[in-house]
Structures are given as C-alpha cells and as structure tokens.
Symmetry: C2
Subunit: 151 residues, 2 copies
DNA sequence: TACTTTTGTATCGCGAACGATATAAATAAC
DNA sequence: GTTATTTATATCGTTCGCGATACAAAAGTA
C-alpha cells in the first residue's frame, strides 16, 4: 500500500469532508426558511450586488451556468428572485432580489453566528484563521489556473 | 451589508470551492479509467482494507449508507467490486475488490503526483501542510460532534 | 418463547454539479 | 452586408448527497 494512496494523506478528502459537514451544519438553519446552501450562496452574492446576470453569479461562485440556471429558476419559483432579460445584452438574464429575498437577510442574521458556534474549536483562532483563508485562497487560485490550462 | 455575510469572509464557501475544484482536477485522470472521484475514494478505502461492509465504508468516508449503496452498486456493474451477503451478520453486504479493482491501483499510480502538481503553490510546503491537515481534521472532528448532538 | 427495539441495506425523491449539446444574440471577419 | 465565430443561457443525462421511509436480520426485553 503506497503512502500516497492513504486516505489520511489526502488533502482532497479532507476538503471534501469538511465542506460537506459544514454544509450540513448550515442545513437546519437554512431549510427552516426553505433554502439550500447553494441558494444561500446566491443570496450572499446578490446581497452584495443586486441585479446581476447569471454568468456573473456563476463566476463569483466558481460554478458553471448550467448549475446556476436551474438553481436560480427554483429560487424564482419560491419568490426570492426575479429573472428578466437584459436591456443592453438581450442574451443575458438579470437576476434580482424580490422584497422577500431582501428580507431574508434579516431573517438569517443569526446563521453566521450559529454556524460559527458549531465549528468553534481550538484550531480556529483569530490568529490562525487568516492563514487558513490565505492558504485556501491560494489553492483555489492555483487550481483555477491548472484547470484553465488543459481545456 | 453585514460583515458576516460577505462571501470573502466565509470559511464554508472556501472549503466548498476548493473541494469542487480539486475534485475537478482529479476528473480527467479518473474518468480515463471510468471512475468518478467518490468511486476513487471507495477504492482508497478498499485498498487499505479489502472486504468491508457498506456501513464501514460509509463511516470511513463520513457518508450515509444511502449514498454508498448505489455508488457501490455502480462499481459492481463495472466489475470493480463484488457484493456478497455477510456470513456472521446476514444484514451486511461485504464489498470486496475484484482483480480489476486491485489492478486499478497500479493503473492509477501517477494520479496523486499529477494532482499534487496541479495544486502546487507557495502556500503548500512541507512545513505548512501538516498544520493545514491538523486544522481541517480539527474542524471535521468538531463538526461531527456538533452534528451528532442535535439529532 | 413472543414482543419490541435496534441495526444494516436498500429504495425513493429532490436538489445540486457538471459534461455535452442546443439556441439565439452579439461580435468579428470577410 | 453576409457569413463565421464567440458569448450567454438553457436543456438533457448521469452521478452524487441526503432526508425520509421500508424491510429484514439481529439484539434486547418481558
């Protein structure tokens, strides 16, 4: 059994597991408002900048448009966002928050704190978190480059 | 716009993105052999310990059995593993590697190196990686505790 | 022994993710 | 100005991931 194949030596498995479990921690908080985690991400994007085309949302979340399109369509059905043809570019679909979508920000105020509580551990301190963020950002940037190259 | 809602302050979004992109880096290497990343994880588990019940595989990967069952069924169809009723406990399904499943380890020898190359960046050094692993393991352990509590 | 509870898999349904493909609008090339 | 190419979404098919549920085998209890 080669060392490189040991599950405990895999960065990807750790990221995969941490991501899934942390998403699960969000779940009860979000589903109480009829939301999924990816839908919450779309809300975070729109709360920062309302009225964006599908493509911009996808780029911001590093997702493909064929993931974002049905995601946003479901959110439209729930009355959280509206989808309207772009005026400058008729190909674009501009996604905007409805009042309900705006108000969700207030309803979800305590979500970041609740999740922060669920994840709090001695490895996550005001001193270590910035380094962790930096590392993950670096890895993400590097992967974007690598994945772009062999397209 | 509250600071806690900024996408750039979210640990979960970073983990989610890093996990997805790193999985994408595995994809061309694995799909060349008809494998997906979760199937590769099952292989890693079985290469470490062959002939395990579905439940043990699921626990090792922090997945539910209703995710692993169909995953393993697909691998059985591909002739990578076999599924047999347990002898001690007739409820268990013991998943074992076929010859083809064993041989895949040789065929995939260079996967860890190729992925290592795709992800190599200045934030990942022999000095920093252990700390990163430790932090992620800590976060995962903490989340397991938190998620178990409110069941 | 009979009855209840727990445990191990499996099935179902839905929402992601994403590769492949389609379509219309915008842009570039000629 | 017509044709070719690129760009922005959308649709389709497959595989996860997981909550809810079903069911049989095992373990515990009366």
């Amino acid at each position: 059994m080669k060392e490189e194949f040991r599950l405990d030596n895999q960065l990807c498995f750790r990221l995969y597991t941490a991501s899934r479990l942390l998403t699960q921690a969000y779940n009860p908080l979000l589903s109480a408002h009829g939301l999924t985690y990816p839908q919450y991400l779309v809300l975070l994007v729109l709360w920062e900048n309302d009225a964006q085309p599908v493509n911009d949302i996808a780029k911001r979340l590093c997702l493909e448009t064929n993931t974002v399109t049905p995601l946003v369509q479901r959110m439209e059905k729930q009355g959280i966002v509206t989808r309207a043809k772009g005026t400058n570019d008729a190909r674009q679909i501009i996604v905007s928050l409805t009042d309900k979508g705006q108000q969700l920000q207030t309803a979800l105020t305590d979500v970041p704190f609740a999740v922060g509580g669920a994840i709090a551990c001695k490895s996550l301190t005001p001193e270590t978190v910035p380094a962790l963020f930096q590392t993950l950002d670096d890895v993400i940037a590097q992967l974007k480059k690598s994945l772009k190259r062999d397209t």
